[in-house]
Symmetry: C2
Subunit: 381 residues, 2 copies
């Protein structure tokens, strides 16, 4: 396999972008990434998006974005894997360059959720339509079930869940692209509007518009250029039963564990080697389960580990330095790429007030649905 | 790049599959392909589908299908590029193996269109939502515009358009998996219900349920096995302006031309070397434009070329030996893979009454929307 590097990245501010349509949002992020990389062409592009068909009545957005970005006739396609559409798009771009077929590929993610669609219904199409959605369950409910089981089995407390939100909002307050760049307290999280017991609105990622893009290139090609490339040293993906009720243990996110193991193996690193991680905190409980499955702490200890400050900016393993989905926002298809943007900025040392000192190896973990798909990438500078 | 081969294929009958849900249809085709290949595992899978979200309220079908096929935790994702979602999925599977990351990949396509959704609206999301769909135009209308322009500029006749349908229905009548396996006459096509002048219902591909799957493998690995592999010797893709009104010439399908040229170049072959082709005849006019853009005949001569029998089963270059989208059916996401299934069967010499004699090199061309994306693959035995 040829070595693949990230040579540029860009993203929009996440939030309610009422004055921009789906295509405007994507093109803004793409132009920033192209400018950052300093390339004068791309060989092909991939766009991660969960459900532009349900959100804004538009499919075929690979070709649409190539057209509006002004790069047609380059090949373009969309990749979908619910909330990890962006992370999976990374993987396809990575394979295309690794194969030797292309040298420079744009990989982006985008979603416009604030445009009048029934967001709860649209997101629920990531669950099992015939067995879960049909019964009326939606994602806050599914994650609430996981949270209750985790509290029951491992003694995780309501405060420990809230500690994830407090940490991520602290980081997001330092991120100019965050949708909700403000601090929150444990009390505020616990006493916010209840969404699905025990999860409140401050345990939940918001409804967001936004896009993020990166430019991937073959390492050989970049050796001749002035850009400071970030190497992709590991890529792992896995799936699990789509319906929560089909899993042996609903507190175990098997796809996260296996995608992490595959990425660690390919990269030749272990959890202790990771300097920072961006993970899929769609709900606070998700971050706790994920840091356990990725091996940053033992199974069941995620709450305590977080409460003790180990995942804070200055902790043992900083997690979601960008503010995560919780504070930065979660335009579904864009999330997996925005995670890469944060890790690249951290490894380049250009993360400003969020900068993790001496960061050399970073990890991104992006997840679909209640964990039926997960993709992990590991980066090194 | 590592060489990639097709070692197995399978598909469902296309049609109105009322007794099967989306997942049932896919699993049937996938099991047939796995059985045909004789493999005991797969490393990953890709599912092409245009809009299961709008058709049946289900996104995240990569993970869903991996789960229901019983192959989770293998990595799985969906690929979308409107009506060429299947062909683009082929390309991603091809890259994954060519890169050396995986050895055996299942690539499938599926769509369930007969399930109560507003099919015309769902399909229209492949056009430009803000500039075309908003004005009320749908695909029969867009292709009717292309047909009228082609007739005006090149003298293409109503009978020549009908000749495409007559030929494809003749071939489809020989295909046990076809949705409408019956002969039609020129008069029947011309006098059928008008959909969008000059196109009648017999110029138009039907609304279909169905799935098709292939198993791809690295050529190195297969040298040790007993399967008769079909080599993928060329892959090309391209995009064009998504909206018809943004193109210099609406009778020119630039993405088809460029995707064909890229595939020919990679394969080291020219149009005259192709023994048979499966192309995207969503409407009769599309097949005429495509055979021109792929270089089987001169620009503007597609009608005459077809009328003279050059694209018939026993013609100079048999086109749509399977019956094409017109007679075999067009479950959108499945079409690009079903084309590969037909070419593989022809190259293996197992196409029964549709067999093209001494077929050694076959081509598939799959298209999205009114031609904003196109993907071509070339196969050799």
């Amino acid at each position: 396999m040829r070595e693949v590097v990230v040579i540029g990245c860009g993203m929009t501010k996440f939030g309610e972008l009422w004055k921009m349509s789906l295509r405007d949002i994507f093109v803004e992020a793409a132009l920033k990434a192209i400018d950052d990389a300093g390339v004068d062409h791309i060989d092909s592009m991939y766009v991660g998006a969960m459900t532009p068909g349900l959100f804004v009545g538009q499919e075929h957005i690979g070709a649409l974005m190539a057209d509006y970005l002004g790069v047609a006739p380059v090949p373009a396609m969309r990749v979908e894997s619910a909330c990890c559409s962006g992370g999976m798009a990374m993987r396809t771009g990575f394979f295309e360059i690794a194969s030797g077929y292309s040298d420079i590929v744009l990989v982006g993610g985008v979603e416009k959720m604030n445009d009048g669609a029934d967001v709860t219904y649209a997101l629920a199409t990531a669950a099992d339509q015939e067995y879960e959605v049909y019964q009326g369950v939606t994602f806050p409910g599914l994650y609430a079930l996981i949270a209750r089981a985790h509290m029951h089995r491992y003694g995780t407390t309501r405060e420990q869940l809230a500690a994830v939100s407090v940490k991520n909002h602290h980081n997001g307050a330092l991120n100019p692209n965050a949708q909700f760049p403000k601090e929150v307290t444990i009390d505020q999280v616990i006493n916010a509007t209840l969404v699905a017991d025990p999860l409140t609105v401050l345990d939940s990622s918001p409804v967001s518009d936004g896009a993020a893009c990166v430019i991937l290139a073959s390492a050989d090609m970049v050796k001749k250029s002035k850009a400071a490339p970030v190497m992709i040293i590991g890529s792992g993906a896995a799936t699990d039963a789509i319906a929560l009720h089909s899993r042996e243990d609903i507190t175990a996110l098997k796809a996260v564990k296996l995608s992490g193991e595959a990425a660690y193996k390919m990269a030749g690193v272990k959890p202790a080697d990771i300097d920072l991680a961006e993970v899929h905190d769609c709900f606070t409980i998700a971050e706790l389960c994920i840091i356990e499955e990725l091996g940053f702490t033992e199974k069941g200890k995620g709450g305590l580990f977080t409460e003790q400050g180990n995942t804070a900016l200055n902790g043992k393993i900083p997690v979601n330095t960008s503010g995560g989905l919780k504070s930065k926002g979660h335009p579904v298809g864009a999330t997996g790429i925005a995670q890469v943007v944060e890790v690249v900025e951290q490894l380049r040392g250009s993360a400003g007030k969020r900068q993790v000192e001496k960061a050399q190896i970073g990890l991104t973990q992006n997840m679909g649905g209640s964990g039926a798909s997960s993709v992990v990438h590991i980066f090194k500078i």
